[in-house]
Amino acid sequence: MEPASAFGPTVEVVVDPDVRSEGWLSRVPVGTRVAVTGALGRPFTLPRQAVPVLMVGVGADVSPLLELTERLRKRGSAVSLLLGADDEQHLFAAREARRLARHLHIRTYDGSVGERGSVASALQGVMAASRAAVVYAAGSPDLCRQVVAVAADLDVTSQVALRTHLPCGTGLCHGCVVPVTGSDGGTREVRACVEGPVLPGHRVDWAGLCGIPGEDGS
């Protein structure tokens, strides 16, 4: 949400034109009225002090991290960004990221921008170098799982915005459950749309979510 842009208060929505459930929005003519329900779910929480932070995201999943970067930067945090994509065409908002971030690391599979390789393989080095006290990740369960694992190794707090199926988005359908571990050690299911999409990294039962038998996900 931009409270004061040239158009008055605006909401930026990022959609992938190739995904059926969201791509239709990119083909709606300019000026069309579209009913929107929101904002929904729980957002990222901000650290109380201006500690260094790291953001990790791939492709269009980076979108929620940019607004967060802007806010944390204004509060005096040194923000490092680790962004990835298949190629330059799928790299989201690299120019804006360059403007906002103290340190920007880019990985593409074809090496067209930044270094060739995956975000996952760069996690350990970038996270250690960033001296981050908090890591924010947005993306697939598998990416978030890897970010949380590296963060746990380095004793860094993590928050993840999980990309999951959200059939209704409002909490009515019980179709977006994520397994979490309670403080009592028991596993239960929460709805990503109500208690998420942002969850503390250590709360998620990653082995259950990613379907990894016999692994505790840490």
Partner: protein, 277 residues
């Protein structure tokens, strides 16, 4: 338009539209969008103990419809009574608890628990969940078994509480089953549940939404001809669809998966039906 509420056993229910089982979250989620005061609210289906439900993905799009295999995910009826019911009652919702059990004895046991809870208006027995096999539910595909469930629940349920039986969308057979459950003590039947279907990966699922509205309407018409009080359910996304159900003899109408698309749907239906019944 006021409810002919006494005919379905829920006096004071303010509207002829209500929330269908499994489509109103735990209550507060819908309360953001719709005033629950005086609204009929059928809960998601509860089992005796907590049940994990189906694996993900639990929903998939289908032409004009929604495939779902939530699989009766729920925390168990006692957790509902302790943690969720009091909020609903405080809002003034007319709460009908949807139940599903593994045996007649378990139906009776659950009904005893529910009957003691303050604020309950009735029970809806879910005799037709298409994706509930993993929950080990009592098989009520035959009229005799459906009637046995209704008798078991009726015996434990105070006479002033209504008892609804939610049946499958089977226009050719539903009248026979409706009469059987009415004779066993059901106040009304709800037609209908989701159509048995398969997820794209083959898992058992239910098909809901506008795709099955014609089947639900045929089921309503079939039951209405028998004189058994009937509540329509299936594919309602605007007031015209409510009128279609009512026109075929439904006394009230449940709104289900349409709420996933538009959580304000019930408010809009109430408004539109008041403007032009």
């Amino acid at each position: 338009m006021t409810a002919r509420a006494e005919e379905v056993g829920v006096p004071g229910m303010r509207h002829r539209v209500m929330v269908a089982a499994g489509c109103g979250g735990t209550g507060p989620e819908l309360g953001h969008y719709t005033d629950l005061d005086g609204l009929g609210f059928v809960t998601r289906t509860f089992t005796r103990s907590a049940h994990g439900g189906g694996s993900m993905p639990r929903m998939a799009a289908s032409p004009s419809g929604l495939l779902h295999c939530v699989g009766l995910a729920n925390p168990g009826v006692e957790v509902f009574l302790a943690d969720e019911l009091p909020w609903l009652v405080r809002q003034g919702a007319h709460v009908i608890v949807s139940l599903c059990a593994s045996s007649l004895g378990e139906y009776a046991e659950m009904t005893r628990l529910v009957a003691r809870a303050p604020g309950i208006q009735g029970v809806e027995v879910n005799l037709s969940s298409p994706d509930a096999e993993s929950a080990g539910v009592f098989d009520a595909r035959e009229s005799f078994h459906a009637a046995s469930v209704v008798s078991a629940v009726r015996r434990e349920l105070p006479g002033d509480l209504s008892l609804w039986a939610k049946l499958r969308p089977e226009p050719t057979r539903v009248a026979e089953m409706a009469k059987a459950v009415r004779d066993a003590g059901a106040t009304a039947v709800v037609v209908s549940n989701a159509l048995p279907a398969a997820m794209p990966d083959g898992r058992p699922a239910g098909l809901s939404g506008p795709a099955i509205r014609p089947v639900a309407l045929a089921s309503v018409a079939s039951v209405a001809r028998t004189g058994v009080p009937v509540i329509g359910c299936g594919g309602v996304t605007d007031a015209e669809h409510v009128r279609a159900h009512l026109g075929l003899g439904a006394l009230a109408v449940q709104v289900g998966s349409g709420l996933f698309h538009n959580p304000t749907l019930i408010s809009r239906l109430v408004h539109d039906l008041e403007e032009s019944p």
